[in-house]
Amino acid sequence: MTEPGPSDLDVSVAKRSPWRNLSFVWAVPILALVVSLALAWQSFSQRGVLIEITFQNASGVTPGETTLRFRDVAIGTVEDVTFTPDLSRVLVRARVDKDVAPFLDAETEFWVVRPKVSARGITGLSTVLSGVFIEGAWDQEVGAPQWQFEGREEPPLVQPGRAGKRITLVTNDGNLISEGAPVFFHGIEVGRLERPRLTITSDSIVVDAFIEAPHDRRLNAATRFWDTSGFSVSLGGAGLKLDFDSLASVVAGGVAFDTIYEGGEAVSAGHVFNIYPDEAEARKSLFARSLADAVPIAVEFGESVSGLEPGAAVQYGGLAVGEVTAISAQVQDTEFGPEIRLMANLAIDPARLGLARGAGREEVLDFFEAAVAEGLRARLAAANLFSSALVVELVDLPDAAPASFDRTAEPLPVLPSEISDLPDFTATAEGMLERINQLPIEQLINQAISLMASVEALASSESAQAAPDAVVALLEDTRSLVNDEATRALPGDIRAAVAELRSVVTELKEGGTLKSLASALERADTIAANLETASAEFPALVDDLRAVAQKANSLEAEELMAAATRVLDSADRVIGTEAARDLPPALNAALDQVRATLSELRDGGAVENANATMASARDAADAVAKATEGLPELSARLERLVRQAEGLIAAYGHRSDFNDETISALREVRAAARSVSQLARAIERNPNSLLTGR
């Protein structure tokens, strides 16, 4: 049964120590375990702090992807995005690096960075590709750690840890002030505005501003802020003026500030400043700075307050002592039924009234009570000549109707008013316009128009257009006349004529003719006397007489007269000639020529000649007058001679040829005598005619 086979071996393994039995391979899992644990420990110990941030909305925030950054360096990752238990906000849990976590304290701000386009530029552009991230900002000091935060919707304008001063600005118009608008100091941006907000209790708008260091040192009680939003266009004497600060401030608004008087006290953070509408207002506010502790009173006006507006000045002796704060109408019951009273509320600055510093309401009211008793009244006055704006004037009118200061009136003490002697500016203006209206402007214009039409017609008429030509032609004529040889010779001629005249006159003066005439007559007389004896000489006598008579008849004055007449005629003709050219030069030339001619005349002695001639003529006239005195005697003697001759001839008794001859000779002698007497009369009547020929 038993088969040969290998004997059963004792295969029991020698018992070795279980430790010695251990394979070295066990080192591998142990090592792996150690490494794994080390890794786990490391990542656990490196694990950041979980913080919670709540946001109004968390658009773009993705768990595991969205990073948390500080100064643009990732310091953590969002792990979870859920809601707060009441679903009012989004709760973002993020893990922040351990080394950063201690800095997170109450000052810390978180906000979601998204692409944003605003007037001041584009921000967060990198997030378009990489997705949004959460930016945090905190200061450089380790504070009490905090793990719950409330995230902001917008980046803070001023990141925590920046040096500067946060102040509050108050304005009534939030129109042109937007969040992030710049704050300028002399045109340099030194700060930013935060989000404007309405105050709950009043209508004013409050906006915080942060002024960066070191510019915040410029802030003090004398600092005034004003609005530089938009742009202003003004048309003034200097022309059109366009004013704006920067393009950003045009779009987003902005405020500027300056210190407008020296010595303002330093202000602390959170100081409240007003924003004035513009720089001028801000500077003007220097005068109104103490209006804060003004005393309110009211004035009741019995006339129209049209033109009076809140803010109008209250003047006392020309000095602004307050301003109008409100204008209202109140219905008051009187014995004649309800009546509407126009009330103006005034704010009076005690310091401006000259009251002691620190004077309060009672002092002011005391002052008014006393002053009203002495005649202080309020009345309306024009702010200036050109506007219808009114101011309230406090005037002393000692003879005003008695009134009292009602300091117990409600709601405000009432100051009595006086009807203003305000010139009705509107009426005056109307009157002036009416007068202007009444001016016969239309008639005037019509006349002017017709005058213009006439002038135009005249100017456009051919004759008028030809007139210059005619004038030119006239001047040409004149020049040619003056240039004419004959004209040039004229002075010579005149001289010659004058000389001739003078010789004639001299001749007359010398009395050659007259004397010879007288002697001739005497001779004739003697001859006549001798005729009785020597009648044979008679024919010669008669010839002589005829010649004498002829000579007397044809005195050259007549010729001169005729020549002068001819000259005048020819002058007329010369002027009347047609050819005419080149007026102005011709005129000048003609004048020159005339002047030359005149000087030539003067040089030629014509005037002297003429003067001398005149003198000679006067002498001659005297001589003629003297001679003339002898003329009647002469004619009488001639008559007598003729009668004697007739008697003589009658004595001859024969009507012979000789007789006829004698009679005609005698008749001629009589005519000559008549001529002489006529000449004598003419000369007596007008001695000048001898010269002028008239």
Binding site: P6, D8, L9, V11, L22, S23, W26, V28, A32, S130
Partner: protein, 216 residues
């Protein structure tokens, strides 16, 4: 029926094993030596009738693989940076993402290669190792089949690591897309390597011993 009988008949049979014959076969070259010889006279390999440290090493490597598998699943396998946005995806996270994108097939492959197979290997190896000591009856050649499957399939788990390695090498487009391997890739590769080593350290003779033991 016949087969069944034969199997049963086979089972009842007592085989003459080298051990029973007092011989030791060299695992390196197959030369048979008498018991008591320390080293193979032909190839110089160490001779042992049954590798006493085999199970120890199996367990050790198995534990190492398990430990490495934990960070492989917790840490990101791939770190993808697209336009500055960094995404880290773990193995399971990647599978879920693929499923969400509708890529069921790819998701199944990744899931099988990265989750099912490694875990299956852990369980299988642990079971095999236990079954040599604890008296459990496995029908037929179940142990041997399991062992073969584990041996065969182990390397395919590396598919994930290869994908990561290739992606990391290829997809380096600077800002646009960058893919980097995460810690999990290393851990996973180690885990796979450890489990392969673990499977390799199983001494099949122990399995056969267990097989025979089933009958007794």
């Amino acid at each position: 029926m016949q087969v069944h009988d034969m199997e049963n008949a086979g089972r009842t049979q007592t085989f003459l094993t080298a051990r029973r014959a007092g011989l030791v076969a060299c695992r390196g070259c197959g030369a048979v030596h008498a018991k008591g010889v320390g080293a193979c006279r032909r190839c110089g390999g160490t001779l042992s009738s049954r590798d006493a440290g085999s199970l120890q090493r199996v367990w050790a490597w198995l534990f190492a693989g398990l430990i490495a598998y934990v960070p492989a699943n917790l840490y990101p396998m791939l770190v993808t940076t697209t336009f500055g946005k960094t995404r880290e995806s773990t193995i399971v996270g990647g599978v879920i993402e693929l499923v969400e994108h509708g890529s069921w097939g790819v998701a199944a492959i990744v899931f099988a290669a990265s989750v099912v197979i490694p875990i299956g290997k852990f369980i299988t190896i642990a079971y095999l190792a236990l079954s040599t000591r604890i008296p459990v009856t496995i029908r037929g050649h179940g142990r041997q089949r399991l062992y073969e499957i584990v041996e065969f399939i182990g390397r395919w788990s590396m598919i994930d690591v290869f994908v990561v390695a290739i992606l990391s090498a290829l997809v380096q487009l600077n800002f646009v897309v960058t893919v980097n391997p995460g810690i999990a890739a290393v851990s996973f590769a180690l885990s796979v390597a450890f489990t392969m080593l673990s499977a390799q350290n199983v001494d099949p003779r122990l399995l056969w011993d267990a097989y025979e033991a089933d009958d007794t």
